[in-house]
Subunit: 377 residues, 2 copies
């Protein structure tokens, strides 16, 4: 399996530089990235799952017995299990033994400790593990996992492209399910069904809003209020196929858009295009921010949304972020969302989002860049 | 809002007993339980969300500005925000200031640290927070949050009932989408669409399997293999309405079941009934385990699945677990899954699951207990 072997080799090379004798992985994307272990069972918060990357040799899975069959179908051969849940020792002893086996006293064990991650185990177990391994040192993974995951392989880009294509086809069918009079909550349900019908494995994320000439919030659940003429309907989905997300939105005007709404749409398209035009190696995330912000928000340095885009892949949102403080240089294989927002009528907003992949030359849209004329339903 | 005020009062009474001057909440269900903050935006791992429960007074939300509008619609009045993501300080300063304000030097701050939870913030930020608050002590929350959440209010039971009813209606329609020749992956997509059509807000979890006379694994993604006559198809869903899960499965025989399969089904029904019959205050979780295990697995003390059921509510799986070591006494308001499994043909299994609520008298099924005859499609 060259893809996984390649990921492992990259990690082990960086571990050597960072003086780390092992990596301890605990989250769904980190575990999956190095093993291929794909299951929705992570929705259950009960069981912890651990993968240890040693300085040399293959990754070791330290997992509940219920996962042995599925992990056994990946490229991982060293699978150590316990019967979880176990109130006396829910895998911590087995994990400590494994980490002791692959490291020596005084050596450092890296844990991904940056933004967009956390240590997925009970806090009491994390403390217990640190007690058990006092002769080792827990340290930052020096962003190794994040930095490797940031650059997608061709196979990964293809999976994200597949999710984008499915979402586009679902967005193209929104007129089938959304008209004036239909409650937003029903539109949310039916849109998810459209995504599934077009081939999504599941719809991990759907947000949206509708309001006269714009909306006030982009993270609220759908209310039962019916759509009205003059509303702007926004749907933003992160659907998943084969474990990879897309993340983009589409706006629809219920009836012909007002001049202000069409103008806001135009502004969003210009902002997106401005970032797209410079999105190639040599530019930074901050450059993308200013390219968009100069169009949508020329008088200020940001908005409450906090950023104008981000990475996307095995997670709905990944490192890096399009903010002034992010100086990450763009590199071929990075998949990003461009997500400008604009204020309409003083207290409402409209947001727009596309997905792109950075290449050695010009970037490519993975979603289909929206035309000048706003979609009308 | 009597429901939320009641939750807060219970927490603060237990905090006093446990000598905790504040609780720090970081996970979606814990934050929502005390605030009502419901959004799918948690799917994005980028932003942390914090709620502080002081010894007296109202909860304080310390959250990214993008959530201010939605949090402002809950009963919470003290909402403190920062623009996230912020690479210099992603809310830790604001959180430390808030915790300092509501506690005094030497006092203890409780963090939920038990099974089924974790601290949802980057590990480096957790370390930074502990550094900033050296004059306070971080301690276990003494299972306060878990224990309060374990007993559901009538309003919560009603929400779970709603999710169960929706899932039952979807299961009743499985013959519409599943026949011999249809790939399992397509059945998964169409079943999720059925759940949405019947009223689910979203389908957070779907697992399942199909195989001749049983299946080998209950957590794998669906393959593209078509259903065949003689297969047993199992679908297990945790769909969500108004933020509450159901969690149960149904088995279907493709064509008339073999005698072994029907017999396995009978065994599973008898096991479920045996646990149901004793599920009332006075019994413990261990009692439920042995009631079922004596029927499905009389020669052994457990299986790789590790447990025969668990709590369900704001999470797909919650405390407590139906295992021999769990001596939690049943109490009115606990919502549980009964989930026996049985080995078929030596290397395959069948699992069954129902949802019940404990009352002061006999329990009640929230799902519809399955009849003796196995469902045939």
């Amino acid at each position: 399996m060259p893809e996984f072997a390649h990921r492992l080799a990259k990690a082990q090379a960086l571990m050597k530089k960072a003086d780390l004798s092992a990596l301890l992985l605990t989250t769904e994307p980190d575990v999956r990235y190095f093993t291929g272990f794909l299951t929705r069972f992570w929705e259950s918060p009960t069981r912890p799952w651990f993968v240890v990357i040693p300085a040399q040799g293959q990754p070791i899975a330290v997992i509940p017995a219920i996962g042995a069959h599925l992990m056994g179908q990946t490229w991982i051969t060293d699978v150590r299990t316990w019967r979880a849940p176990n109130y006396d020792d829910d895998g911590i002893g087995l994990l400590a033994d494994t980490l002791t086996e692959v490291t020596s006293a005084g050596e450092r064990i890296g844990i991904p400790d940056q933004m967009e991650t956390h240590v997925r185990m009970p806090f009491s177990d994390l403390n217990r593990l640190q007690q058990r391994l006092k002769s080792r040192m827990f340290a930052s993974d020096a962003a190794i996992v994040r930095n490797i995951r940031m650059i997608k392989s061709d196979a990964e880009v293809l999976k994200i492209q597949t999710s984008c294509d499915i979402a586009e086809r679902a967005f193209d069918r929104v007129a089938e399910i959304a008209q004036a009079g239909v409650p937003l909550s029903q539109i949310f349900r039916k849109f998810q069904a459209l995504c599934l019908d077009e081939g999504a494995d599941w719809v991990a994320y759907l947000a949206g809003a509708a309001g006269q000439g714009g909306y006030a919030d982009v993270i609220s659940p759908a209310a039962d209020d019916p759509l009205e003429n003059g509303d702007v309907l926004m749907l933003d989905t992160g659907l998943v196929t084969d474990g990879y997300f897309c993340d983009f939105d589409r706006n629809f005007s219920v009836g012909p858009p007002s001049q202000q709404v069409q103008s806001a749409h135009d502004t969003l398209m210009r902002a997106t295009q401005a970032a797209f035009d410079i999105a190639r190696p040599g530019a930074t995330m901050a450059d993308l921010f200013y390219a968009m912000n100069d169009v949508v928000n020329p008088d200020a340095s940001g908005s409450d949304a906090g950023r104008l885009g981000h990475g996307v892949g095995m997670q709905l949102t990944e490192w890096p972020s399009i903010i002034p403080d992010d100086h990450t240089p763009l590199a071929a294989g990075m998949v990003l969302t461009l997500e400008p927002g604009v204020v309409v009528f003083g207290d409402k907003m409209m947001v727009h989002e596309e997905n792109i992949v950075i290449t050695v030359n010009t970037p490519q849209f993975l979603s289909r860049f929206q035309p000048e004329k706003m979609r009308v339903i």
